[in-house]
């Protein structure tokens, strides 16, 4: 079953490399040109972001190279304000005529849009100031195409060699990615930083000799800002193989009500629904199942959810948000009680609140429990008889009502022991109730994403099946 431990760094992965990015000053200059042109055209306020990214990805299937892809993307976006009227435009073309044309397009739009009393730049007092925290986000990887191919081959070979029932493969992929984003606005803010993100994944297929060769597929991946901290290729391959093999022999179960355990990578999705429901946009549109719930208990009292934007090397780290507002540590849930919302300047003004530095999203959400730490096996034992969900399918989540109904696969558990894999069922409930009656959360934390949490044991849900 999934655990959260990253394997020790693999010796086969090369270390840092020279950067493929343009000079920061070049992007600063473009932002300056955009803001100058907006002012010249009469904008009272403006903001701009310019981005560059460079990447290489390689996939290998059945031991042979399948794709070799070089990525290099440029972007440039501007928003102008004429009083409280707003217009936006963007392009991939950095050349001066295109840049000037883009600013003009944004200004043209602002002639037609309606006054919006809540629009405008962030409060200057909230902008991030030097010195910005050092977040250690930039670790270029000197990965040549040949090295990438070797890593992907090793990874896929470990999966295919794991068991004779691994019958086919969707391949293994390796990618390195490096980017530089600069944001500036007419209140004098100019900030930017380079960052990297590298990944390795493997997806294999197993055929069940006991079921007429019926196929199942599963995968595993590792991702980090620093390639030396990726899981080793053979470990990723083996994990993909283990995950697909455990699906063989899956069957449906009868319709019933039973407790459900979400593994960490799926529990993260539940936290995502929570974050979506406390987002400013959902609140001011009254399209959230957690409307007006600040100060009230939305989870049991063991639940603690914090945002930690300055964790070194973390995937969600940022010194400032998409409007230049300084990010800071904050508590979203303490002892089960909702402490505040996820706001940018616009939604904050509409709600009569202050921005929380979340323009563009959250930055490292850490989910914890004040109850004594319990591992995955203890959660299974606590559940006794119920369903472990390892895969969810479809989009059956209603953000307005919290109604939840999704396709699922996993394991049926009796007396704390997995009995057999399960497929082609649905699980259903309502998120409000699922959160309020959450039973336990595990210490088996998945560190790979912007939301870090362990397994979650939920009170009984409706399972529809045969």
């Amino acid at each position: 079953m999934p655990d959260s431990q990253l394997s020790p760094a693999s010796a086969s992965l090369p270390a840092t490399a020279p950067s493929a990015l343009p000079e920061r000053a070049e992007l600063d200059r473009l932002v300056g040109m955009i803001l100058d042109e907006a002012r010249r055209l009469g904008a009272t306020e403006s903001e701009a972001a310019v981005s560059f990214s460079d990447g290489l990805s390689v996939s290998v299937r059945l031991g042979e190279v399948e794709t070799l892809e070089y990525q290099r993307d440029r972007g440039l976006g501007v928003t102008v304000y004429f009083g409280r009227r707003k217009g936006s435009a963007s392009t991939s073309d950095w050349r001066e005529p295109a840049l000037l044309e883009t600013v003009r397009a944004a200004c043209d739009i602002a002639r037609y849009t309606a006054e919006d009393p809540w629009s405008g730049l962030a409060d200057p007092a909230r902008l991030a100031r030097a010195p910005l925290p050092e977040l250690d986000l930039h670790h270029p990887w000197a990965l040549s195409a040949e090295q990438a191919i070797d890593i992907a081959r090793d990874c896929e070979a470990a999966a295919r060699g794991f068991d004779a029932r691994i019958s086919n493969s969707d391949g293994a992929s390796v990618g390195r990615h490096e980017s530089l984003v600069v944001y500036g606005n007419s209140n004098g803010f100019l900030g930017g930083y380079p960052s990297t993100r590298h990944s390795l994944s493997c997806s294999v297929i197993a055929a069940d000799p006991q079921a007429d060769g019926r196929m199942e597929r599963d995968y595993w991946y590792t991702s980090d800002r620093d390639a030396s901290r990726l899981e080793a290729p053979d470990a990723v391959g083996r994990r993909a193989a283990e995950r697909v093999l455990r699906r063989l022999g899956a069957r449906r179960i009868g319709t019933r009500t039973a407790p459900v355990l979400f593994v960490p990578e799926l529990a993260r999705g539940l936290v995502g629904h929570f974050l979506g429901a406390i987002r400013g946009g959902a609140l001011y549109r009254k399209s959230s199942f957690l409307l007006d719930r600040a100060g009230t208990a939305v989870f049991p009292d063991f639940m603690q959810i914090h945002e930690r934007p300055h964790l070194p090397r973390a995937l969600g780290s940022a010194a400032f948000d998409g409007e230049g507002v300084a990010t800071q540590d904050r508590d979203l849930v303490c002892d089960g009680v909702l402490q505040g919302y996820v706001l940018d300047s616009y939604s904050a003004r509409r709600l009569g609140l202050e921005t929380t530095g979340n323009a563009g999203g959250v930055h490292n959400v850490i989910v914890g429990s004040s109850a004594p730490a319990v591992g995955y096996d203890e959660l299974l034992a606590a559940m006794g008889t119920g369903l472990v969900v390892t895969e969810l399918m479809g989009h059956g989540v209603n953000a307005v009502t919290g109604d939840y109904s999704r396709g699922a696969a996993g394991f049926w558990v009796e007396n704390g022991e997995p009995v057999h894999p399960v497929e082609e069922i649905t699980i259903a409930g309502n998120l409000k109730t699922m959160f309020e009656t959450l039973q336990m959360i595990g210490s088996d934390i998945d560190l790979r994403g912007n939301v870090r949490c362990g397994s979650m044991l939920l009170a009984p849900m409706t399972i529809a099946g045969a």
Partner: protein, 496 residues
């Protein structure tokens, strides 16, 4: 609302016109011409590269959105670039540039050909020509300019007013209007030179209604490869507003949905997302070439009930999923996927067709120049059957009648698919009775399609809002079907 005449150039007639326009929009401003493209293709082809192509794109897009009764935000985007692909057997090398001039093109071609065992082979001579004029299925117009900014704003405001006029319980109305003009030009080492200018417009309405502390949502919308005037014709946009409110009000009354296996009747039109998930993806050439689809190796076999004839049809005029030529320059086709229950064809691009010894079917698609081509669906639908829809509902003793859906998803390999109803009713003793909350339906593609026991005579296509995602790439698609009955499908409600 006043109707606006669209002063749009007439649809391209005969071959070459979309290609000529694509040349003018893409090559001329970049100072490129056919000899330069031939030279770049020559650079691409080392002796181990057996196919290469250049995909030029200039894409202009805009969106306008309304909330609180006013259009307060809008955005404009221009994206352009060239993608260069080199194929050697099952290997693909790919690079792209957001610059369209000749040096960038050569640099990308050199990067892409590194895929071949020997990228340093002699450069080959390539000749390209626009020899396969495709039938134009839509006018090569620029939809962004087919209404003035004031007219677009008035359209959005009229939709808002229409939604609010329907019922005092409407508390929020959000409307968005978007248009794209996508000009592409493809030059390939097999001599292909093709161009297309693809317009696409969309209008979406989403409403929230509130009553006695209960809130529900409803949504509707539509569009196609047409000018904005489409939304003014026949009061289409106002119709979307009325439909969104109607759905939301139905959901205000909805009770818990049943859980378990039961007979389900799917309404006509958008519920065809069933076919997209349960059948379509599993018949894309790449999965079948690799043997990773639940439908792999099953050509000529019975994979659905004999009532089912399912096609993928790129050739419908003005539809959201239609393509005059696909993203490799192959003319769009109507491909029979399943005929009376028997699997007849896969959907192919050039690479997978060649590797499987089959023919490309005009299903090569890519999100943009910066993405690799894959076999994808266009407009996928089931042909009508013999039954009156009322007869189909009347045949079910206890079951679910589902008429609107959100999205769906499929696991190609196991064949498991889901799709989520957003408007559904109980069927009790052959009659549609109470509305129930949205619920996910789950099944296994080849098994579920064998349980299609009745097919209606009321084929409808969706209104033109579908977007399909595969490997992180989004492309516009269409779906459709007549009313149909599925015996024994699992319905994921909460009531046991």
């Amino acid at each position: 609302m006043s109707t606006v005449a669209s002063d749009v150039p007439a649809a391209a007639t005969g071959g070459g016109s979309a290609l000529d326009l694509a040349r003018a929009l893409i090559l001329a401003p970049a100072g490129l011409d056919e000899p330069r493209l031939e030279s770049a293709l020559g650079t691409l082809l080392g002796h181990a590269v057996d196919y290469g192509d250049l995909y030029f794109q200039v894409r202009r897009a805009e969106s306008w959105s309304l909330e609180d009764g006013a259009v307060k935000s809008a955005a404009h985007n221009i994206d352009q670039g060239v993608g260069v692909r080199a194929i050697a057997g099952e290997r693909t090398g790919f690079a792209y540039s957001d610059e369209l001039h000749a040096p960038a093109l050569l640099e990308a071609a050199k990067a892409a050909r590194a895929i071949a065992a020997s990228g340093k082979g002699p450069e080959q001579g390539v000749r390209i020509a626009g020899t396969r004029p495709a039938t134009a299925l839509y006018a090569p117009l620029d939809p962004l300019g087919t209404l003035s900014a004031d007219e677009k704003i008035r359209l959005l405001e009229a939709v808002d007013a229409e939604a609010r006029r329907q019922d005092p319980r409407v508390t929020q109305v959000m409307v968005s209007l978007a248009a794209v003009q996508d000009a592409i030009l493809i030059a390939a080492s097999d001599g292909t030179l093709a161009g297309d200018v693809r317009p696409l417009v969309r209008l979406s309405v989403s409403v929230i209604v509130e009553h006695n502390g209960r809130r529900e949502q409803g949504g509707s919308g539509g569009g196609g490869r047409v000018a904005y005037g489409y939304f003014l014709d026949e009061e289409r946009a106002l119709g979307y507003a009325r439909e969104a409110v109607r759905q939301a009000l139905v959901n205000l009354e909805a009770e818990e949905a049943p859980a378990g296996t039961m007979d389900v009747v799917l309404g006509p039109g958008w519920p065809g997302v069933l076919l997209h998930e349960a059948v379509g993806h599993g018949l894309e050439g790449d999965f079948n070439r690799k043997g990773t689809s639940a439908y792999s190796g099953r050509l000529g076999q019975k994979v659905a009930s004999e009532l089912c004839t399912i096609v993928d049809d790129a050739t419908l005029a003005d539809r959201r999923g239609s393509l005059s030529v696909d993203d490799e320059g192959t003319p769009g086709e109507c491909t029979v996927l399943i005929e009376h229950g028997v699997l007849r064809n896969y959907m192919q691009d050039k690479q997978n067709a060649r590797l499987m010894g089959m023919r490309p079917t005009g299903n090569a698609r890519r999100e943009s120049y910066a993405h690799l081509t894959m076999p994808r669906m266009t407009n996928t639908y089931m042909l009508p059957g013999a039954h009156d829809p009322a007869e189909i509902v009347a045949s079910v003793e206890r079951g679910l009648y589902a008429v609107n859906f959100g999205g769906g998803q499929v696991d190609i390999t196991s064949g498991k698919f889901v799709f989520s109803a957003s408007e559904a009713y109980l069927i009790e003793n052959g009659r549609v009775t109470r509305p129930v909350k949205g619920a996910t339906l789950i099944g296994n593609g080849p098994e579920a399609m064998k349980r299609v026991s009745m097919v209606g005579n009321d084929l409808k296509l969706d209104l033109g809002v579908g977007t399909c995602g595969k490997d992180g790439q989004s492309v516009p698609v269409g779906v459709g079907q007549p009313t149909l009955r599925l015996d024994g499908i699992t319905v994921g409600g909460t009531k046991t």
